[in-house]
């Protein structure tokens, strides 16, 4: 099977099966686009009627072509595709691009699978079916039926939607945004985004990668590739739809909280990709990130001629995680000359509504030249006094100054006709000029997020030290009893085997043992009945809390036995469990689930009984290292509670991280477990650690799932 994607993106020869004389047919458009696009390799139109199309000899079959063929494009009805794939395989073609539709997207999986089987046997790969084709600037190959010519540039687009892909070509042309590659993945019968990304990873021409995804087939394979690429070039993702897993009613909180696309979102973030909410945002980011220099540090200034717009930008900066520089002394020194006395040198720098182009020039040259400032967001509100004719030159010059200083800058210019004209003109030159504050700030935020991930030190996590054999034995026992969950004491044993602290507990078969156990554990203790027939212990009066001395233990034992016998005279009671009484602390939830696409996924958040109401949780795919786990914790709204509020001591954050890594390790090494949830895991101050109070472990339901 070919993994040399160079033959796909930089083929030396292409055959178009279904090439047509009729300009209304796709087969004609593709051939025409290929020739007009300036493709330099050999082009072989294939059509049983033979003859000549657009000056090229037409072959009756791909096998009749004399030379080698790297890529075949199929633009024929679905019913002929199988045979065309067979012929291509016989010919030794390396890649087949199937434009034709009528396969799995309408339920015809059989033919699609058969084509993939034939291709694999011949070491051939398939793009599509149901794709609009692909473009590669490297060899000027426009093998699509797009109506718009593609402009060469540095943005690579991978799209699962064909229609959207064609629209994107049109849009990039309008925005004057050049593309290095655009590929429509279609039904993804064989080649997926992850394959195409492997080519783009070291593709010098591609400065930014943008992906439109509807569903992920093999998330576990995608994750490392995304991580690698995001450290080399900005990776922008737009995803629609929801994960299958999330749509299912889940048995654990972790499972149900993982609904919607929370996992996808978390994984994208973890991989350093930038997730855009809309096409508009994605295109803005692509354009900006293609040309913006990477900032040296996080010190950003806003330069504005209006207070209101400055406040809007400040709010947007907070939303996008942009740090505003606030060293008043340096700001005053830097901007004093460019700011009138009634303006402000506090960030946002307000050069006032009376500012002219020269004033902007001075105010924007200052940050470009200042060593203490790393990036600039420029705001302009159209005023009657401003010399509008100088707006475009001012933007060009100050942009150049920032580029020379290797500092990013973005512009939000708001106003009427002259402003509209300026935006249109400057956009054609790919200058980062926007009609509103939000996109100007959002672009800068995306750049900072990319830069932060790229420069992050990455340490590989090998997994925690857990006793896998002991856990497997526990699972064996549960399976032997035909259970798809572990009993409470089994789940506790898993915690012990993983080194996650649980409250100390002893099973006592008689009263004297219970008293002895309580004395050994130390008061206060909790006592609960041990009976496989009594599931709801508190309903049966089988639970006693906060027992502070021997007499209370004796009474509680007597009460439990008495109550449980009254509750169910036939219940098999094997004793009582005497457990350390856990004092109150911060109740967190730590869990892990096996996602159908991304594999083991770890969750943490605010726990207790309100976990599903608050939904204050974060996800990451496993493996993740200490630092990523820490970032995950920092992401939840309740993080300040871990730091300690109102004079409380800081909580055992390292302990929580350790537990997160351990549950992830359990799930990754014990493949019969589907869900683990510790809720609550009570977290105390650093010196006191934490305790896993309630642990639920679910096993995969059926042999098929395993």
């Amino acid at each position: 099977m070919s993994t040399d994607y160079k033959h796909l993106f930089e083929p030396r020869s292409i055959a178009i099966i279904g090439a047509s004389h009729d300009p209304k047919k796709i087969g004609h458009t593709i051939l025409n686009n290929l020739i007009k696009g300036g493709y330099k390799g050999n082009v072989y139109p294939v059509n049983p009627s033979g003859g000549e199309i657009l000056g090229l000899k037409v072959y009756k079959s791909v096998v009749d072509i004399e030379g080698d063929v790297d890529v075949v494009s199929l633009a024929i009805p679905a019913k002929f595709c199988l045979e065309a794939v067979r012929e291509s395989a016989r010919k030794g073609v390396k890649y087949v691009q199937i434009i034709s539709s009528g396969f799995s997207e309408i339920g015809n999986d059989k033919d699609e699978r058969e084509m993939v089987r034939i291709a694999r046997e011949a070491g051939m790969r398939i793009l599509g079916p149901n794709t609009f084709g692909m473009y590669s600037a490297e060899v000027s190959m426009n093998l699509t039926f797009s109506a718009t010519p593609v402009k060469e540039g540095g943005v690579a687009i991978l799209t699962q939607s064909g229609a959207l892909g064609i629209a994107m070509i049109g849009r990039t042309a309008v925005d004057n945004m050049g593309l290095s590659v655009i590929v429509s993945t279609g039904n993804k019968s064989d080649l997926e985004e992850v394959d195409l990304l492997e080519y783009l990873e070291d593709h010098d021409r591609t400065r930014v990668v943008m992906m439109y995804i509807e569903g992920i087939k093999n998330g576990e394979r995608l994750i490392p590739v995304l991580k690698r690429i995001a450290r080399k070039k900005p990776l922008i993702v737009i995803k629609s739809g929801r994960s299958k897993r999330g749509a299912q009613a889940a048995a654990s909180h972790t499972g149900s909280l993982a609904g919607l696309d929370a996992i996808f979102d978390a994984v994208v973030k973890q991989c350093g990709a930038l997730r855009a909410d809309s096409l508009e945002e994605a295109f803005n980011w692509c354009r900006f990130l293609s040309f913006a220099p990477e900032p040296m540090d996080k010190r950003t200034v806003i330069v504005t001629n209006g207070g209101g717009i400055g406040v809007l930008a400040t709010d947007a900066c907070e939303k996008h995680g942009i740090e505003l520089y606030d060293d008043q002394k340096i700001l005053k020194e830097t901007f004093e000359k460019a700011t009138p006395s009634f303006g402000s040198t506090r960030n946002p720098i307000d050069i006032t509504g009376g500012a002219l182009a020269d004033d902007y020039m001075a105010a924007l040259t200052a940050p470009a030249d200042c060593d203490h400032i790393d990036s600039t967001i420029t705001l302009y509100c159209e005023t009657a006094t401003f010399d509008s004719e100088n707006l475009i030159p001012m933007v060009r010059t100050t942009y150049e100054k920032h580029q020379e200083a290797s500092k990013p800058v973005s512009y939000a210019i708001v106003g009427g006709e002259s402003v509209e004209h300026a935006v249109n003109e400057l956009s054609k030159e790919n200058l980062p000029v926007f009609r509103d504050v939000e996109p100007a700030v959002s672009c800068m935020g995306a750049l900072y997020r990319y830069s932060s991930f790229k420069n992050r030190e990455i340490t590989e996590y090998e997994g925690a030290d857990i006793d896998v054999d002991a856990i497997e034995r526990i699972i064996d026992k549960a399976e032997a009893e035909d259970r798809n969950f572990l009993l409470a004491d089994e789940a506790q044993d898993v915690m012990r085997a993983s080194g996650i602290q649980i409250p100390e507990s002893i099973i006592a078969k008689k009263l004297s043992d219970a008293v002895e156990a309580a004395e050994k554990i130390g008061y206060p203790v909790v006592m609960k009945v041990v009976s496989r027939d009594i599931i709801h212990k508190s309903d049966a009066g089988g639970l006693a809390l906060d027992l502070e001395n021997k007499q209370e233990v004796i009474d509680a034992y007597e009460a439990i036995m008495n109550n449980c016998r009254a509750y169910d005279p036939d219940a098999r009671i094997s004793g009582v469990e005497v457990t350390e009484m856990v004092t109150s602390g911060l109740e967190m939830v730590v869990g892990a689930i096996r996602d159908a696409s991304f594999g083991p996924v770890v969750m943490c958040g605010l726990g207790g009984i309100y976990v599903e109401v608050m939904k204050d949780v974060a996800f990451r795919s496993f493996p993740l290292n200490d630092e990523e786990a820490r970032r995950m914790l920092q992401e939840i709204k309740s993080y300040p509670l871990l730091l300690g509020v109102r004079g409380e001591e800081k909580k055992d954050i390292d302990g929580v991280i350790d537990s997160m890594l351990k549950v992830g390790t359990i799930l990754s090494r014990c493949d019969r477990i589907s869900d683990i949830e510790i809720n609550p895991i009570v977290v105390y101050s650093q010196s006191k650690g934490l305790k896993a109070l309630d642990v639920r472990i679910l096993l995969l339901h059926t042999k098929e799932e395993k």
Partner: protein, 345 residues
């Protein structure tokens, strides 16, 4: 010191109710102990017997309910006492209860055998303390006669000063006197009284049901002393219920799932003493408000309707402190039908 052990041969003879009636009727200062408990209440990390708690509370005895019962679970009692120390413990219990009082009523366990292995059965208690033994018996007359004959013939009554009988829940006193009284007297029992059957004494209060079901009281707390006369299990459509004559009976207690809001609302608008909502499903706030307005307790339990109904079927009637009508009736019955001055004499 005057003392008497009140014992039943079979469970459910109405021993505690009779004792309450006697204590109230005696109008003197008597103590009460129940060395071996059988209806355990676990509250504030201590165990107390339901009957001990009722009597101490009702007659405002200075002793705490926890202190007049040695224990419930045999394993616990064996862990704490041996034959010798248990005898001493019982003697101390009775001595303490009788101090500065006119006498002590000692209530035995649930039946004549209960506590035998610990020497806490009624006969042992009477022998340890030198008390009179009073059998409280009820049921069909043949069983009553058989039980008392068996006890007299096969049980060692040595050391017990006097053995007497109170026959409880007698449907036809005249007939019993004509047919059986002589026979009992011939066995050597003194007949202290025959108490007539009263249907009203078999009714539950809602507070008692709340306790027995370990229920959460969601609303209508002021109506916990409501008496239950009829029980209705709501498992059909509301239209059917409204047509059902049982649903329209007075003082009914409805058992239904918490999500049957239609049925709960219908019950709240009728003559209902209380509602047990099963499956741990809380009804909407308007229903809770309505129940509060009408003082109809809503009790919430996690068990399902079938199990709740089954449990209800096994409940025994127990006297509660708030059931003043029942206490008044028991007192009147004791005054009228029991030879109070023969109990200790």
């Amino acid at each position: 010191m005057k003392s008497a052990v009140f014992a039943s041969i079979r469970e459910g003879s109405g021993k505690t109710s009779v004792i309450v009636g006697i204590m109230a009727a005696l109008k003197q200062n008597y103590g009460y102990v129940k060395p071996i408990g059988d209806r355990l209440i676990y509250k504030r990390k201590r165990n107390r017997d339901y009957d001990s708690h009722l009597v101490t509370d009702l007659f405002q005895l200075s002793e705490e309910a926890e202190s007049i019962t040695l224990g419930f679970d045999h394993s616990k009692l064996r862990y704490m006492y041996d034959d010798e120390t248990i005898r001493k413990a019982v003697a101390e219990l009775v001595d303490k209860a009788g101090k500065d009082r006119d006498g002590v009523l000692i209530e035995a366990g649930k039946d004549i055998f209960y506590g035998s292995s610990l020497r806490l059965d009624p006969l042992s208690l009477a022998q340890h303390t030198g008390s009179n033994l009073v059998f409280i018996v009820s049921g069909d007359s043949e069983s009553v006669i058989d039980d008392l004959a068996f006890a007299r013939r096969n049980m060692n009554m040595e050391g017990i000063p006097k053995c007497s009988v109170i026959v409880n829940k007698v449907h036809d006193i005249e007939e019993f006197e004509d047919l059986h009284l002589r026979q009992l007297q011939d066995m050597g029992y003194e007949i202290l009284g025959l108490l007539p059957y009263k249907e009203r004494l078999t009714r539950f209060t809602v507070s008692y049901l709340a306790q027995r079901f370990y229920a959460k009281i969601v609303a209508g707390e002021d109506g916990l002393s409501n008496t239950v006369k009829n029980v209705f299990v709501g498992a059909m459509s509301t239209d059917e219920i409204l047509r059902n004559p049982l649903f329209n009976k007075e003082n009914k207690f409805l058992i239904t799932s918490g999500d049957r809001t239609d049925m709960i609302l219908a019950a709240l608008e009728g003559d209902t003493s209380g509602i047990l909502m099963t499956n741990n499903i809380l009804p909407p706030s308007n229903i809770i408000s309505r129940a509060n307005e009408k003082n109809i307790p809503l009790l919430l339990v996690s068990m399902d309707t079938f199990n709740a109904s089954a449990k209800f079927g096994h409940l025994e009637t127990l006297l509660t402190k708030d059931n003043e009508e029942m206490i008044r009736m028991l007192t009147q019955l004791a005054e009228k039908y029991i030879k109070l001055d023969h109990i200790f004499g």
